[in-house]
Symmetry: C2
Subunit: 340 residues, 2 copies
């Protein structure tokens, strides 16, 4: 009875898309969002897979995010595209502009995409991997609702502000990392709270700004802390400026999401694409040289290794989801209205 | 007798330039290198001021760095310039291309400069501040000789790989941060060793890869560690790829500097320049909004604040250097050959 359900990638994609469309999204909007959730499930990144589906549907149904967005390019220069997401999901903008960005980078060496008025709230590596697959370096970041203190402050100002980097390798899939700017994600702190566990020192502070290992004190008016002290805070502030100030999106502390009913954040996305073939030959071999030196020095696993292993298995065997996940997915795909 | 010497900025610049020229550099090469040292002294960043002069001269005199370099642009696209530093100092390449990069960014939205075959070995903020002064966002990084372990490894592979970010503010000087990817700089570990002090846990490991608080064990075949664990290591690896693999420069672990006689590292520099005016209006005001929110949340000092305070004083009063610094500077400017 509690055996997992095995689905093909195509079947799972179709179900997610149907659930998003029944939840109020247009097909054009549902496709890219479903693809991102699908590849997370495929690669075993459960935290950004089906787990997010209900939240996306809720955000659309309460009118906080626009599921029928019609993104509009507002500025286009030889190496810069600024796009207004029409309060929809950022992945839709990226799908619309991806080929053009690669053409721009091939022509000029570099391209940047600046997405404003957008909801992202997903992993970043699915956004940048397609560029590295085509031989480009890609760097992207998004800001999100305020949850983290920075530079000695004790109140949250920035989001946990993820930054991700992808580059091609010769004869290997791309090397990609994708990391938040906080020591620990909000999700992991929530999990610790639910399980009655303490979190390690350095993860957060309480409402008075005092260090605490109590997850509930961090979540209840306290703040997450950046990785690596003020240096990680510098990264978070840069992300906030690139993803919000530069694109024209709201800062994390300006987010006005209606609390429990909407789970996504309004913000922006910065994406840089560089064509290394315009600089010199053999970039992919040089990446391999560096990674080989790291492995020689003791690195046991490179970023993405586990994802690629799980992906191979999913491509061969299909994707296993729990019975509960499958039931919930089928219910949404059949038009169930999620509880508020 | 031990009173500091007060010099005007112009007098100090002229003395440094003369010392570099007497040390074997051409005037074209000495100018930008002297300017970087001067602004560090002006802003009170003693670690990258006159302290570096002797090392630069030594690196040139043993033939490790080329003090008469003639940089050559090897690729030029609408938004990308690749320059070969001819084994000279990176600051010379930047001075040659700065105006052109700003023109490129104004025209296309973005420009990147990729410098290969270069010596940097200085602070990065003097490189990027001029762009922010003109309204541009600038991001730069350099790699250096291997000193740091990454991603669970225990032997050094990358340098301490600095990354720096600058952006314009409305009615204020730019907000700039400039930070290494290690918890502590090699210089500070050396200082602790000389003074017989331990360093905090997490700064480095010994030759066997074991954590240690002994600076001499870290320096003697051990390794520095990245800030924030694997997340800081990700930044360091990205810097190594952008500054070396992308530009065509050697990696930190490929550096073959002749030990004690040469103090600079061969490597590369990556510089990204973005024109926010091509994306939307009011970027500088938005930067102010974010920084005001940070101050409101408890940040007492923003990056650069101390530099700007010291700068105001130096511009009004001149620069004080110690008698010993002045004597050494005068000797070099009069053609003394530094001891090996």
């Amino acid at each position: 009875m509690n055996e997992p359900t095995l689905l093909s990638l195509d079947d799972l994609r179709a179900l997610i898309e149907r659930a998003l469309v029944r939840g109020g999204m247009s097909a054009e909007n549902a496709g890219p969002v479903a693809e991102t959730m699908l590849v997370c499930e495929r690669d075993g990144v459960k935290s950004h897979g089906l787990l997010r589906l209900l939240g996306f549907v809720r955000s659309v149904q309460v009118g906080w995010a626009n599921g029928r967005a019609q993104p509009r390019i507002v500025e286009m220069h030889a190496s810069m595209c600024v796009i207004d997401a029409d309060n929809g999901f950022a992945q839709v903008c990226l799908t619309l502009t991806r080929d053009r960005l690669m053409d721009m980078a091939r022509a000029t060496g570099v391209a940047i995409l600046l997405t404003r008025n957008a909801h992202h709230y997903a992993a970043l590596w699915p956004d940048i991997e397609p560029f590295a697959d085509q031989g480009f370096i890609a760097l992207s970041c998004v800001n999100s609702k305020k949850r983290m203190a920075a530079w000695g402050g004790t109140k949250p100002v920035t989001g946990t502000n993820a930054l991700a980097f992808a580059c091609p390798r010769a004869d290997h899939p791309p090397m990609i990392w994708d990391q938040s700017s906080s020591v620990m994600s909000q999700g992991d702190v929530l999990l610790a709270a639910n399980e009655g566990r303490e979190v390690p020192p350095g993860v957060g502070c309480d409402a008075d700004g005092a260090p605490t290992t109590s997850p509930s004190r961090i979540l209840d008016g306290g703040a997450l802390l950046p990785f690596g002290g003020h240096k990680g805070a510098s990264i978070a502030v840069m992300v906030e400026l690139l993803a919000a100030a530069l694109t024209g999106a709201p800062f994390g502390f300006e987010d006005e999401s209606p609390g429990a009913t909407a789970t996504t954040s309004k913000g922006g996305q910065f994406l840089l694409v560089v064509d290394p073939r315009r600089a010199n030959l053999g970039f992919g071999e040089r990446v391999n040289d560096l990674l080989a030196a790291l492995v020689e020095a003791g690195t046991e696993r490179l970023p993405g290794d586990r994802r690629y292993q799980r992906r191979s298995r999913a491509l061969a065997e299909g994707i296993r989801i729990t019975r509960a996940e499958h039931d919930s997915l089928l219910a949404l795909a059949n038009g169930a209205v999620p509880a508020r």
